[in-house]
Amino acid sequence: MAEIQLKGISKSFDDNKVIKSLDLSIANGEFITVLGPSGCGKSTLLRIIAGLESQSSGDVIIDGREVNNVRASERDLAMVFQSYALYPHLSVQQNLMVPLKLRRLSRLERFPLLNWFLPKRSSKMIELNEKVLQAAETLQITHLMERKPGQLSGGQQQRVAVGRAMVREPVAFLMDEPLSNLDAALRVHMRAEISELHRKLKTTFVYVTHDQAEALTMSDRMAVMMDGEILQHDTPSEIYNNPVNLQVAEFIGSPKINVLPAESDSKGGITCMGLPISLSMKTPKQGSIMLGFRPEHTELLSSNSNNCFEGKITYKENLGSDIYLHVNLKEDQHKMIVRSEPDKALDAKIGDMVKIGWMVDKVMAFERNGQSLPTKSKS
């Protein structure tokens, strides 16, 4: 188990700054997800922690020890790769043995032929075999031990990759989009399994993904990363409910949050497209701001409601459990996506005019530059 700290990490490839002075601290035994769109530098960050890539500046500290010049093989971390990176010429059993052999056996004991004559080797090998078997049992892959990776399905390969990381009992697990090569159903299943594994092992997990569902469901805390910077590092619910800026708000949540322009007056009152919103700013300031309404925090209202948005349905998505209506608002050219209970919107048709309301305590306010603005709802 380990606590990992990153201090002022930056990384450039030639002139391209991939990571810009980044700080992150990961607590002992925590499951942390680094979430970001592809190309945001999250995989590079993971490889820097692993020691596969060296940072241009800054420190990596594992359990209080600065490891900048420690090689990947000596950091005692395990990693699960997106491509699994199993050795294709070795059987599952042999794949699981590799990290154990390389670490527990001396150079001499690994030397072909000669090693048969070393007294302690066989007892060590029995012990290692035992460990491999244990890991295989945990992951339910004992029946696959003699197969080669090429003969396994994607899900099975994934388990073997996790197994290879597990057998060594590393101080932390690093996972680089481990589920992205699996099909959708299996991905949901493996999500639960990895969470389960974390609960069992109680080791630090650093998990990199671009899939917000994985991040939201699995992690204790998550770090939202964009353009080489961590924008917000907090619990999933905090990030969902109180994003620090518009970028994070737009990245988390599906469908995407609706953003509409609004005005705030000197007393802190807010109007959005002519409608007063019963919300006020904690530090009143006059000017134009933006409001964010998550689709799941809006609703269809009856046709006689007033003080609400009004618009025409352009598209209807029926997901069974929910219906999403895409609405062109009457005022300006703004669009909005509204989530509705199925029975409320069942006979809404494309082209119909509808009225839309919102849950006022869930509305988020942002400055023009995207920074989040603290608000309180008027009671």
């Binding site: 490889r47 692993a50 020691g51 596969l52 090689r71 990947a72 093989s73 000596e74 971390l77 395990a78 990693m79 790769f81 997106q82 491509s83 990176a85 199993l86 050795y87 294709p88 010429h89 070795l90 590799v98 990290p99 390389l102 670490r103 080669k148 990776p149 090429g150 290879r164 060594r168």
Partner: protein, 317 residues
């Protein structure tokens, strides 16, 4: 489907040519290998296995097998390992890799016969640069010490280099002690660039993640990574490179014909040259055909071994 019998016109020229040019000759050779036919005479006798028996009887044929096998046993491993080594060095370079690749590949492109003559001049006992360097080196202290091994405490006059210094520079192609070695050297010089290019292609197809995984798993030296990832991942390349180099070295002809004509005292009497000498130069068709059949047998065995390995061992997916 109605569309036509066009396939017939497409396929038949190729099929006819395959039979006439590739398959029929095998039968012709097999047939003549049981005769004493020679191109000058009008008729021939069936002599059964006599030609094959003479392969075992005459010392020139046992010398032929020895020379051919020795050549293959020297050229194949050395040119394969040199190819692998240079490929690994080049692929790990930060700059200049393309230049070395081009240089090492030059011998593959160049007309071997012309280059054989250039080597002949380099290896010439009197006016060749190689002997000139060796000769001049005898009077250069460190060079002499290094190559006689006296820096390791050996007696310099007993060493090979000490010997040629006090006596005479070697006649690389004319002395039967050196001729096969010299021909093999030219063979290696010509072949390793080809192997290098195949290995370079093999190396680039190894996923980078495997090296990262090996590093994480605790393989901290270059050697460990080579053992765990590079060598096994090159499996299919090894099989191919070894087979093609073996078949090609069995076929060595240009250098032998141009530089030694099988001599001195048959020390470089290689199979294809023997086939040419018996069958074409001396018109002994019967014996030449026998050699052809034996040679085909060797090539077939090599290819079958390759097929076996490809199917059995080295395919991972």
């Amino acid at each position: 489907m109605g569309h036509t019998r066009s396939h017939f016109w497409f396929v038949s020229p190729a099929v006819i040519l395959m039979f006439v040019i590739l398959i029929l000759p095998i039968f012709v050779a097999a047939t003549f290998s049981f005769t004493d036919y020679n191109l000058g005479s009008t008729d021939f006798k069936w002599i059964g296995w006599k030609n094959y028996e003479s392969l075992g009887k005459f010392s020139s044929y046992s010398k032929m097998f020895t020379a051919s096998l020795t050549y293959v046993v020297i050229v194949v491993p050395v040119s394969v390992l040199l190819g692998l080594g240079s490929a690994m060095l080049i692929s790990s370079l930060r700059f200049g890799g393309e230049l070395y690749k081009a240089i090492f590949f030059l011998p593959v492109m160049a007309t071997l016969l012309a280059m054989a003559y250039a080597w002949e001049f380099a290896l010439d006992p009197v006016m060749g640069v190689i002997n000139k360097v060796l000769d001049d080196g005898c009077s250069v202290g460190w060079f002499y010490k290094f190559f006689t091994g006296s820096w390791l405490g050996f007696n310099p006059t007993e060493s090979w280099y000490g010997g040629i210094c006090s006596d005479r520079m070697p006649n690389w192609l004319g002395n039967k002690k050196y001729a096969l070695g010299s021909i093999s050297f030219i063979g290696i010089w010509q072949a390793f660039g080809f192997n290098m290019v195949l290995y370079l292609a093999g190396l680039t197809s190894i996923p980078r993640d495997l090296y990262a995984a090996a590093e994480i798993d605790g393989a901290n030296s270059t050697w460990e990574k080579f053992k765990l990832v590079t060598w096994p991942m090159l499996g299919p390349t090894h099989v191919f490179v070894v087979t093609i180099t073996s078949i090609r070295s069995f076929q060595v002809f240009d250098t032998v014909e141009a530089l030694t004509r099988g001599g001195p005292s048959k020390s470089t009497y290689m199979m294809v040259y023997a086939m040419y000498e018996k069958g074409v130069k001396q018109n002994l068709i019967g014996m030449g055909s026998t050699l052809t059949i034996v040679f085909l047998g060797f090539v077939l065995v090599l290819t079958m071994t390759q097929v076996y390995f490809i199917n059995r061992k080295v395919h991972y997916s």
